[in-house]
């Protein structure tokens, strides 16, 4: 314990909101009687800092431990070794200062859209009238006004996803952990939600950790993009994204910088040695943009 705390003090920068120190996550796989139990390392030696108000994106191949890492940040899972600090305090469990949008919608099927959005507010013991005002606002924000009294089974996948986002936003956590939140929506809605999320983020100064499989999305949203590799899940590199803010989909996507960042992340994911920046810059942007930007 003591050493971990010391590690934290040594390494953390002053404006760090989330500090991840030496996280390991090991699954003990129990096979059949004949086969011996064996360990599966899902995450190995993850060290990461997220600054206050930063937008960090995690990308990596399927099964590299992105969701597991998010669970650990949320306090829903305890790492096999290592620790997570939020505002300098070690995380011991979930709390309302972090909101997580889980992979899969995880809506309560017996609650209407509004009641789902109000769940966290009920836990927070927000009075009823106020709850309604807040849920109204966030239901509207995700474009579901008119659907407030529907049950989850009456919604499309993308709509459910948006309810889950509204639910996490509604109780106003400092930190938003989002696990592929836009995976199930159409391209147009996705771009709208991305713009909307950036707007909310700039307005509320929340710290966001965002998991995605889309390189485009990562490059568009993030201040930095952390690229993970699989088997075992390790942090390969963090790509800093210097695109100007505020960003909107319409003017960022055609910029050369966007193309370069996209290509770099793509290469890291392909496990290639990343090219020197100058070499790419001299080529036309169109060449640098890989045709298979979506994983």
């Amino acid at each position: 314990m003591g050493t971990v705390a010391d590690n934290y003090k040594d390494a953390a920068s002053a404006d760090a909101k989330i500090v991840v120190r030496d996280i390991n996550w090991v699954f003990h796989l129990k096979r059949t009687r004949t086969e011996p139990a064996r360990d599966f390392i899902a995450l190995e030696d993850i060290n990461l800092e997220v600054k206050k108000g930063e937008f960090l994106v995690l990308v990596g191949p399927s099964g590299c431990g992105k969701s597991t890492l998010l669970d650990i940040l949320a306090g829903l899972a305890h790492p096999t070794s290592g620790a997570v600090y939020i505002d300098g305090k070690q995380v011991s469990g979930p709390a309302l200062d972090r909101g997580i949008v889980l992979q899969g919608y995880a809506l309560f099927p017996w609650r209407t859209v509004r009641q789902n959005v109000e769940f966290g507010l009920e836990i927070k013991k927000v009075p009823k009238g106020e709850r309604k005002a807040i849920s109204d606002r966030f239901i509207k924000l995700v474009g579901l006004d008119g659907f407030a009294d529907r049950f989850p089974h009456e919604l499309s996948g993308g709509m459910k996803q948006r309810v889950a986002i509204a639910r996490a936003l509604a109780y106003d956590p400092d930190i938003l952990l989002m696990d592929e939140p836009f995976a199930a929506v159409d391209a147009q809605t996705r771009e709208n939600l991305q713009d909307e999320l950036l707007r909310i983020w700039e307005e509320t100064k929340k710290t966001i950790v965002f998991v995605t499989h889309s390189i485009e999305e990562a490059a568009f949203l993030g201040d930095r993009v952390a690229v993970l590799t699989a088997n075992p899940g390790t942090l390969r590199e963090i790509v800093k994204i210097d695109l100007p803010r505020p960003r909107t989909n319409s003017d960022i996507r055609s910029s050369a910088e966007f193309g370069w960042v996209r290509h770099k992340i793509w290469e890291l994911l392909q496990n290639h040695q990343p090219e020197v920046r100058g070499a790419i810059d001299s080529r036309p942007v169109a060449d640098a943009i890989s045709p298979s930007a979506e994983l």
Partner: protein, 263 residues
């Protein structure tokens, strides 16, 4: 619900069919005894049955028997639910290992035929209300227990995770997530239990009772009062239908959020 609009034409069509088939049934039933012979001796036509029913009602006996039967069924049922639902939560939720250990025993007990146990109940508890209450309790407890265990076990862990991520405490988690998520299972168990309870009660009253609808059937049979026999049987069916109706209403109120609840 929104599904209502697409289904209502089909519904009225099927309801019309239902009604006409019931009508047809009553006509055949009325005409059958007129064929004479054995049919006349053993089948009372509906006109006579409802006349007898009315007379029994007028004599002030019918409601008494109905009340006695319902009282037994309801008290046994409620007692079973009060034991089975909490046990189901404990076994299905917090003590999975114990559940795995005792499950075979429970399954075996659940398979024991209540009729063969009835003499035992009478031996231990006497011929009075207690033995019939015990019988109802016995037949109700198993479906409620097994369905509650399954309902709790099959709760989507993602829902629990999602609630926990919002800092939900254990008590709130139970009332706001575990209980509503397990309600379909519990409800299914209650519905099954109530059906068998009523069924078994009539049988138990036929074996050993001095009042109640089952006794009415048994009494009519021993005295060869065919119209009485039919009247009692019809009353039992009507009560059974009412029971189904009550559960359908409950289902709509409690489980209206489910996809298939209106089908």
């Amino acid at each position: 619900m929104s599904t209502g609009t697409t289904q209502s034409p089909f519904f009225s069509w099927s309801r019309w069919l239902d009604r006409s088939s019931v009508l047809l049934f009553f006509i055949i039933w009325e005409l059958l005894p007129k064929a004479g012979g054995l049919l006349e001796t053993f089948i009372a036509p509906p006109s006579l049955v409802f006349k007898t029913l009315w007379e029994t009602y007028q004599a002030g006996e019918l409601l008494g028997h109905v009340g006695v039967s319902l009282g037994r069924a309801v008290s046994g049922f409620i007692a079973a639910a009060l034991v089975a639902i909490p046990s189901g939560f404990i076994l299905g939720g917090s003590f999975r290992t114990i559940e795995r250990l005792v499950s075979p025993v429970l399954r075996f007990l659940g398979q024991l035929n209540p009729f063969s146990l009835f003499p035992l109940f009478i031996m231990f508890l006497g011929i009075g209300e207690l033995s019939k209450g015990a019988m109802i309790f016995w037949v109700c407890i198993w479906p409620i227990l097994f369905n509650t265990i399954n309902g709790v076990k099959e709760i989507d862990p993602l829902l629990i995770k999602s609630a926990r991520s919002m800092g939900t405490g254990i008590v709130t988690l139970f009332f706001k997530v575990i209980l509503p998520a397990a309600t379909p299972g519990i409800f299914h168990g209650l519905k099954m239990g109530s059906g068998t309870a009523f069924f078994m009660l009539i049988a138990a009253e036929m074996i050993g009772a001095s009042r109640g609808l089952g006794w009415l059937v048994w009494n009519a049979q021993t005295n060869f009062q065919i119209p009485q026999l039919f009247a009692a049987t019809v009353t039992i069916s009507i009560l059974g239908l009412a029971l189904n109706g009550v559960f359908s209403l409950l289902e709509k109120a409690l489980l209206g959020w489910r996809q298939n609840s209106h089908a």
